[in-house]
């Protein structure tokens, strides 16, 4: 897996960055001695308690699997009994809302589909009752590289051929506002893809069946979700998200490589920044800082535990870790869209007006 951190100085004003650094330095040095003790206090608080890990989706899905893989090790390093609680509803929004307003004692946390959470907050979808900037981030487990997959026998075999296709190519997608749909709509706009989006499939499994039947030609998805079909020779990948080609796909161009204009690159940067948020763990606002520090520490240890890594490998999953502090920054960056024109593209993509 690859990793492209977004440094705070990228676009900001240098003085602000320096000020920021000074503040951090001061905080660290002042809190340095105290924190070791308060983390010990937090450990005493957690010992023997139940820690609820909310999965905002039904049992059986990818988020559920991550939750259940993490639970025993989080329990080991926090000294708690971790209970995985499925809280599905409103495409994952319900679980994020509920934990946001949960008692801030640090005993309720969640794993999030942050890409969807960011999109919903950015667009101002009705029903959003959380502010991601106020969530306490524990750390990111993984990210999904998004890819564009075509079916075996599709009329176009490369991204160039797709861009230059005279007749429209049909793309399958799940519901409106879902990631398969949003990615298709935004790249259609940014890369001028001559595609017709057929959305309304119940799940990505049904999109797969549609591709096998040949009623549609392509679809977006995460790299891991496409891998099975690609290995079986039923689909092939012609485009990937991100700024650099992933190690697993050295021959597949990224969408920045085929972007026709600066505007297109800007749109894709915003989308990439959103994808960067991946799948993090978070605690509600208002949890005491030493407990957050303790949870972050436990999370870091979990993601380095050799037995955990073994079980991840066995489940054919990949880790793309960033710390809780870095996660704060990633979320902040993903929520900043300064250009109103670009913002409109996203609003339209989520609400289905393109």
């Amino acid at each position: 897996m690859f990793h492209y951190g977004n440094r705070s100085g990228d676009r900001g004003d240098l003085r602000l960055v320096l000020l920021f650094l000074v503040v951090i330095l001061m905080t660290v040095s002042v809190a340095g001695f105290a924190s070791a003790k308060s983390i010990k206090d937090a450990a005493a608080f957690y010992k023997g308690k139940n820690l609820t890990l909310v999965v905002p989706y039904k049992p059986g899905g990818g988020y559920d699997a991550w939750g259940r893989l993490l639970a025993p090790y989080l329990g080991k390093y926090t000294g708690t009994r971790v209970i995985v609680k499925n809280m599905p509803g409103a495409g994952g929004m319900l679980g994020i809302n509920e934990v946001y307003t949960a008692r801030p004692n640090g005993l309720t946390i969640n794993i999030q589909n942050a890409v969807a959470a960011v999109t919903n907050q950015l667009v101002g979808v009705k029903g959003v009752r959380y502010d991601l900037l106020k969530y306490n981030w524990i750390g990111r487990v993984t990210t999904d590289t998004r890819v564009l997959a075509m079916r075996k026998g599709a009329p176009v075999k490369t991204i160039e051929a797709l861009i230059n296709s005279k007749s429209p190519i049909k793309f399958g997608a799940t519901g409106l506002g879902g990631s398969t749909y949003v990615d298709a709509v935004i790249t259609k706009k940014a890369l001028n893809l001559p595609i017709e989006i057929v959305h309304g499939y119940d799940s990505s499994s049904e999109v797969d069946l549609g591709l096998l039947r040949g009623e549609i030609d392509g679809t977006y998805g995460s790299y891991s979700s496409r891998l099975g079909m690609v290995k079986a020779g039923e689909q092939f990948i012609i485009l990937q998200s991100g700024k650099k080609r992933a190690a697993a796909m050295p021959d597949v161009p990224t969408w920045f490589e085929v972007a026709p204009s600066e505007k297109a690159k800007e749109i894709l940067s915003v989308l990439t920044a959103m994808h960067e948020t991946g799948r993090p763990l978070a605690a509600p606002p208002g949890v005491a800082p030493e407990r957050i520090a303790f949870l972050r520490e436990a999370f870091d240890k979990t993601l380095k535990d050799p037995d955990f890594l073994k079980s991840i490998k066995k489940a054919k999953k990949e880790i793309d870790y960033v710390s809780g502090q870095e996660m704060e920054e990633i979320i902040r960056t993903s929520l900043e869209i300064s250009d109103p024109e670009i913002k409109k593209v996203f609003v339209d993509a989520v609400k289905g007006d393109i």
Partner: protein, 504 residues
């Protein structure tokens, strides 16, 4: 590996000392989970997944699949004895099963249901085995136009399911079900329908709590109000007579073998539709049995065919649902989705490669379904007797206990408090429908198929325009639908004329 070789190796693996204990253990667990109202095969599998991490692939697969296989049998027993669907797929069994218990024929109904389950499951996987070489082609025959027409065909059975002879009340029940199906966010336009600002309603109403409310809670209310016990006529002698009854039930199913085969075929075909589950297949089989019966007036009053038909269909569904799972590694139902994730955990990659490289595993799954069901059938017959004794308890004792189990079952499925409210609200609705004679089966058919119709109609139109109806298979299904509809209408008009009245 040849098919025959795989067949033998699969059987050999299934009965090996290493695997067999897990097959039996899984079957017993599944049976228990089935008996508890609200807990489904989906739940049984999800619950067992954490236990298989360290198992050998053959053992793990057998364990969770055996548990899944017997759930329908346990559920059927609950449906017959306690007028409560043990799982969603047993809802259709409620139409005649409890009536038989009331008449003191619980044993006969259980015997018939258990046997029908086994034959249905056997039929489903038998067809699957025959189709193995062409499985991919068969699965791909069905796309949105075909699913749309299949769902419409199933919807026409609402006419047959009308309560007490009134077609209008059946249609109203069906329409009500359709209406509730559309609660939630429309995935095509993003419009929120009937959600009243509740996030809990965005994903629509889930089937299990609605089903439990409509059929189970309503029966509890009824039992509470009318008093008495579930078995109103004490079976004489109890134990020996129970054994005899069960045997009679087994014979009943065998005598109706042709009906069992037809209903199993309905189940297997509907199992091909992804995400549909087995509840609608069971209702359609029930309607088919009623439609073709020489004495349709007995249905709803404890007809043995009314138990045999749905129970053979709901287990035959597994054969169809396994098809796309095995052929492509694409789940045909929520349970199959869990099976696939379990296979991945065990290091087995489902999909086309599985069929080529691990034919023995494919047959192990098939044998597990067959043997697991056999086990469930035999065990079920032993459990039936002690369970049946509870049906003689006074309603005032039984209702609070059952109600607790039902509401807990509704909660557990999605761990949602909201579902507990749903189950109670739909309990009241179900009770009203029962008392006023509006068809509850029609309601469920409408409820389960509504979204299926809408989604596939949209996809068909978007993909092919209005021409989609003229694709060969879709056209065939359309003709069949019209034939069934005409046949039903003629039959209804005739029977009304005989009764000397117009449509009530």
């Amino acid at each position: 590996m040849g098919v025959l070789e795989g067949l033998v190796q699969g059987l050999y693996a299934a009965v090996s000392l290493q695997v067999l204990p897990y097959l039996i253990g899984g079957a017993i667990l599944g049976l228990i989970i089935g008996i508890i109202p609200g807990l489904s095969g989906h739940f049984a599998m999800a619950m067992l997944v954490p236990f298989i991490f360290r198992m050998e692939p053959t053992v793990g697969i057998t364990f969770i699949l055996a548990a899944h296989a017997t759930v329908a049998q346990g559920g059927g027993m609950t449906a017959i004895l306690f007028a409560t669907p043990g799982t969603g797929q047993n809802a259709a069994t409620l139409l005649d099963g409890p009536k038989m218990t009331e008449k003191g024929e619980a044993g006969r109904a259980v015997g018939a249901a258990m046997t029908a389950c086994f034959i249905g499951a056997f039929f489903g996987v038998f067809v699957l085995t025959l189709l193995l070489p062409v499985l991919r082609k068969v699965v791909l025959l069905f796309g949105p136009p075909e699913f749309f027409m299949l769902a419409i065909l199933a919807l026409t059975f609402i006419a047959v399911l009308g309560g007490a002879g009134s077609v209008n009340k059946g249609l109203i029940g069906g329409a009500l079900g359709l209406m509730f199906a559309f609660v939630g966010m429309d995935s095509v336009t993003g419009a929120k329908r009937f959600t009243f600002g509740l996030l809990e309603l965005w994903d629509g109403l889930s089937m299990v709590p609605v089903l439990l409310g409509i059929f189970a809670v309503s029966e509890m209310i009824d039992l509470w109000i009318t008093g008495g016990s579930l078995a109103r006529k004490a079976a004489d002698g109890a134990h020996e007579s129970m054994q005899k009854q069960i045997f009679a039930g087994v014979m009943d199913t065998l005598r109706n073998w042709w009906l069992v085969i037809r209903c199993s075929a309905i189940g297997t075909t509907m199992g091909l539709i992804p995400g549909l589950g087995s509840a609608p297949a069971a209702f359609v089989a029930y309607a088919h049995a009623k439609q073709t019966s020489k004495h349709p007036e007995e249905f709803g009053h404890g007809a043995i065919e009314g138990v045999i038909a749905p129970e053979s269909a709901n287990d035959a569904v597994e054969g169809g649902a396994l098809a796309s799972t095995l052929a492509f590694g694409i789940p045909g139902s929520s349970s199959m989705a869990i099976l696939i994730s379990a296979l991945l955990i065990l290091g087995v990659e489902p999909g086309p490669k599985l069929m080529v490289m691990h034919l023995d595993l494919v047959f192990l799954m098939i044998w597990t379904v067959v043997l697991g069901n056999l086990m469930g059938t035999i065990l079920g017959m032993f459990i039936a007797n002690p369970l049946a004794k509870a049906t003689f308890l006074r309603g005032s004792l039984l209702v609070p206990i059952l109600l607790c189990i039902i509401v807990t079952g509704a909660y557990i499925f999605h761990r949602s408090w909201f579902d507990m409210i749903v189950v109670l609200v739909f309990g009241l609705l179900g009770y009203a429908m029962k008392k006023l004679d509006y068809s509850r089966p029609a309601f469920i058919i409408g409820f389960v198929l509504g979204l299926m119709v809408e989604r596939n109609l949209y996809l068909s139109l978007k993909l092919y325009g209005g021409k989609f109806l003229f694709q060969p298979l879709a056209l065939g299904l359309a003709v069949l639908t019209i034939l069934v509809l005409v046949y039903n209408i003629v039959k209804i008009v005739k029977s009304n004329r005989r009764a000397g009245i117009g449509v009530k």
